[in-house]
């Protein structure tokens, strides 16, 4: 019984933890402009993150080594250091977006302008990192984030024309008005939103934090293989809501306040309250994960003592670097930069940086020195190579497409 509960908890947390501000914004924007014609990208992204997270979790559980230790060791200080610089900056960008997302969601709940919420949100994130146990932190935000299921409920309540939605999803067409370049630019953005590198840093370091062993692998595999795809279903539901309400009216999503309107239309104030709680939990959870990831990447590269399971005094530089990152994120947001715009950039750059983290993990997952007999099987390697190609193509195409489309505008 206890085992079943543990399994259920893990899966529910994975669903709730899957969505962050990047998924929310990108799916809604894409839904309002392209309907469900990019839903296939979510599928590709979800399979990719399952594969990648599963591999890095397996490496961490068996060898006890987290992702960035491996990157440093395999790529050496120069290539590894460049990788660190890129990953760290993108992580910081994502952290900024998430903290901004918390503030925007709190604005919806209170009408108090986001600039007043930003320092509060930053402080709250830090307090949780400073004082709360890892498992509590992960389970609470994950479970509360599960309330985002209201997007899926809203799709049914809106009573859409299902054949239109199915037609968009299964026979993707690019409207003449949007153009091929925009379509593919948003395809990469969606892919980057589903496969953000911080999820992998967090997942593998979390495995070390929670002291996973080989025994925990089947549980983690279930969490990933069931939880992430269900999280992907919620992503598509967000896009569907926007496709049903906004696409016919020619409305382009550019703010968080628009994303919640279809839910209110479908379910009234109650649904609205639930979705706001869900967005706060999802962005707050992701803000925790990205802050920790910035500490993890830096500490693992430098060989510092790290981990939430230690007292802050026993991982001093790790905690100091997270404090500095949060201060920077809050500082950037206080310049009145639009968090939604920051989010859009962060997901695209996530796609750009993905090969840098993916390749070393793939290599180590095949190294018997680390993995013993549990090296990747042929099937996993087959999939992994297909994804290596997809990831490299997306990474190379992202920036040219960004320039051609003027960042999708």
């Amino acid at each position: 019984m206890k085992k079943v509960l543990g399994l259920a908890l893990g899966i529910l947390t994975a669903i709730g933890g899957f969505l962050d501000i990047g998924d929310l914004v990108t799916n809604a924007v894409v839904g309002s402009r392209f309907g469900l014609s990019l839903a296939w990208v979510v599928l590709v992204g979800v399979v990719g993150i399952c594969l990648f997270a599963q591999m890095s979790g397996k490496v961490a559980a068996i060898s006890g080594r987290a992702t960035f230790e491996i990157i440093r060791e395999r790529l050496g200080p120069r290539a590894g250091g460049a990788n660190l610089a890129a990953s760290f900056l993108i992580n910081l960008l994502t952290l900024t977006a998430e903290v901004g997302g918390i503030a925007l969601a709190l604005q919806l709940a209170s009408s108090v302008e986001p600039r007043l919420w930003i320092p509060v949100a930053g402080l709250a994130v830090w307090l949780v990192i400073w004082r709360t146990r890892f498992s509590i932190m992960e389970n609470v935000t994950g479970l509360v984030g599960l309330t985002l299921i209201v997007f899926a409920v809203a799709v049914f309540l809106l009573g859409p024309d299902w054949s239109t939605l199915a037609d968009q999803a299964f026979h993707p067409k690019v409207s003449a008005q949007e153009g091929q370049a925009s379509y593919w630019y948003y395809a990469i953005a969606l892919f980057g939103a589903a496969m953000t590198p911080y999820e992998v840093f967090f997942f593998s370091s979390g495995a070390v934090e929670e002291k996973w062993t080989v025994k925990d692998l089947s549980q983690s595999r279930m969490n990933v293989l069931v939880g992430f795809p269900l999280g992907g279903v919620l992503s598509v539901a967000i896009a569907a809501c926007a496709a049903i309400v906004f696409l016919p009216k020619g409305i382009e999503v550019s703010s968080l306040s628009q994303i919640v309107l279809p839910v209110a239309l479908a379910g009234g104030k109650l649904a609205l309250a639930v979705v706001i709680v869900g967005i706060v939990a999802a962005t707050f959870g992701a803000a925790l994960e990205t802050s920790l990831s910035s500490g993890y990447t830096l500490a693992q590269f430098m060989g510092w003592s790290w981990g939430k399971f230690r007292r802050p005094a026993h991982a001093a530089r790790f905690h100091l670097s997270m404090i500095i990152c949060l201060v920077i994120a809050v500082g950037v947001l206080m310049t009145s930069v639009n968090p939604v715009a920051v989010t859009e950039f962060s997901v695209v750059f996530s796609a750009v940086a993905l090969p840098l983290t993916y390749l070393p993990i793939l290599v180590v997952a095949n190294d018997p020195e680390y993995m013993g007999e549990r090296v990747n099987g042929r099937l996993t390697n087959g999939f992994a190579l297909v994804y290596l190609v997809i990831i490299v193509v997306a990474s190379v195409a992202a920036i040219p497409l960004m320039i051609v489309t003027g960042a999708g505008s």
Binding site: R78, A313, A316, H319, L320
Partner: protein, 131 residues
Amino acid sequence: MSDLPEDRRPAGRVLDARLHLLDRQILDVDGTPVCTVDDLEVHGLDGSDLPGGTQQAVITSLLSGAVLATRIFGGRPPASRWHRIRWTHVSDVGTTLRLGVRSEELDVTWQERWVRDHVIRRIPGGSHDPG
């Protein structure tokens, strides 16, 4: 993989520096991360560095700190800025290097101690287990 003759099989374990030593995590006797192997110091047994078959050369210390910056950007730090961990302290070489001493007792962790004493311990809750 090549037509070259096989080297004689050595008596001890073979360690290729880049593959097995450099950039690996160093853990202390309690399993606390200390630093990474940023470079290695090698000396001849008679103290000179000359090759030429007259004498053996061995690794005397693991280095960390400023040598990382020079491995990335080039150049060579002055010897005064090398932080050494004597090979004497190494107890095991695997996917990590284990030491037989505690992290506290080593020179290389001075920054960690400085940040701990001047910043982290001064913030309330910094010395307690997460609740």
